[in-house]
């Protein structure tokens, strides 16, 4: 990705061959490239994206039922054990702590963003104004993305740990 920012040091492009060369690169990207066999030609990108989503569904379909099955089969054997109850309580507390951490990140991120939005900077050109406003918007999106990713990770963490803990109680390791 070429970033074309408002920095004083950002190079301009004015050579007459720039557009024809860019169009050549576009045409080349539309064909199969033997040097990058995993890169999908542009016309087939929608198909590749759909395939990627299907692959994720397939992987999730392989993980979640497996973990649920492990937990479900073991649950009757462990649900009345004192140790299991203690671990469940500790797990709940750990999840709550991580949830509070996520909330703290959210508050910190919004505070920092708000402070930056309220900081009066000098702007002499429209270019710089647009750049600064875009940066703020992008940082908001980045904060949102980081939070969503962290929540997804915590959910996966809980799923894997619960299945592992319950399954292990049902079949304790040797030794």
């Amino acid at each position: 990705m070429r970033n074309r920012k408002a920095s004083m040091m950002a190079p301009t492009r004015s050579d007459p061959d720039a557009l024809p060369h860019a169009l050549q690169r576009l045409a080349k990207a539309s064909l199969h490239d033997p040097a990058h066999p995993r890169r999908t030609p542009l016309p087939f990108v929608p198909v590749a994206r759909a395939m990627a989503s299907l692959q994720l569904l397939k992987h999730q379909g392989a993980s979640r039922p497996e973990q649920a099955m492990t937990a479900a089969l073991a649950l009757p054997m462990v649900m009345f054990r004192e140790e299991a109850a203690r671990e469940a309580t500790a797990l709940g507390a750990a999840v709550y702590q991580q949830f509070l951490g996520l909330c703290a990140d959210w508050v910190d991120g919004l505070t920092e963003l708000g402070q930056d939005m309220g900081t009066l900077r000098q702007v002499n050109t429209v270019t710089k104004y647009v750049d600064e406003e875009s940066n703020l918007a992008l940082r908001g999106v980045a904060l949102m993305t980081a939070q969503v990713t962290a929540v997804a990770r915590l959910m996966e963490n809980v799923q894997v740990n619960v299945a592992w803990l319950i399954g292990r109680h049902a079949t304790p390791p040797a030794g």
């Binding site: 990705m1 970033n3 995993r38 397939k58 992987h59 392989a62 993980s63 497996e66 973990q67 492990t70 671990e87 500790a90 797990l91 750990a94 999840v95 991580q98 990770r153 996966e156 963490n157 809980v158 894997v160 740990n161 299945a163 592992w164 803990l165 399954g167 292990r168 390791p173 040797a174 030794g175």
Partner: protein, 327 residues
Amino acid sequence: MTVQLHLAHSSMFIGAGVVAGGPYRCVESFPTASAIAEDAWVQNAFFICMNPLIPEAGPKVPRLLEIAQQTAADRMIDPLHHLKKARLYIFTGSEDKVVDSAVVETTRAFYMGLGVEPDNILFDNTVPAGHALLTTNPEDNPIAANEPPYLNRWSNPTMQSWQILDHIYGGLTPPDGPPRGRLMAFDQRPFFGGDSRASMSRIGYVYVPLPTKKNVRPRVHVALHGCKQGASYVNLINGLPDKANSPPYGNRYVTTTGYNEIADANDIVVLYPQVEGIDDGRTQNPEGCWDWWGYSSPDAAAPDYYSQHAIQIRAIHAMLLSLGATA
């Protein structure tokens, strides 16, 4: 990775320094996490071997001991009796939020379960450090940070690398100034065949000290960098390498962590093999980590990352042989 390399070729090493690392084949703790093997290994890596929500959800030593014993019986690693006299430095910062200290404690328990003499293990979990190798450099991160380049400064007057090597080798001479030897770059590709599956960089480094004593055969220490610490690692922004702005963290690992200084004073050659971030659909290693969960294995269902057959371990072994190392 350090633990996998150590066990794979334990006859070659007199010890190992493990900074914030989990036990051998940790990701195979809960193989039924997914019906798809590579998913199971990654889920184990994240949620059991790095961040179990509670210590009880971490790796279990008896299972990993069984696995190690079976691997040795299958002759995929050196016989485990070589480990009995091994000297181990195992460290976890009490503020580490990347690899939980409870996991690193199982690394100690794992080695003890293999029969390593307790007096040979220096285990330290008392320093309020984040996930990092500790230095005395003023430009490095504060002690409790959990951020790249994962080099934090502590108040101790010596580098952590000096403590690691002093524990492993014993009785080392403290450095008396800047290193006088030569830091050399070398082409790593002949050692891994240029295969992108290895996720190894084109260039590796080796520090060769000026000999301090005549007729002394130098020792070789392998310094494995951590995730995001390789010389050519470039941070990702929105999934793309930020080549315009990323500082070369790896040079800091190779030149500022103190290994060269302590090596210089004690006739130790330091080998710095390098991996780099690759995430191309074939090799999933975006953060440039050494392989401890199987991304470099040709067959995810039958991984080999822990054995003498592993592409990275084979490469490092070949580098050691070319430096004149013997078993």
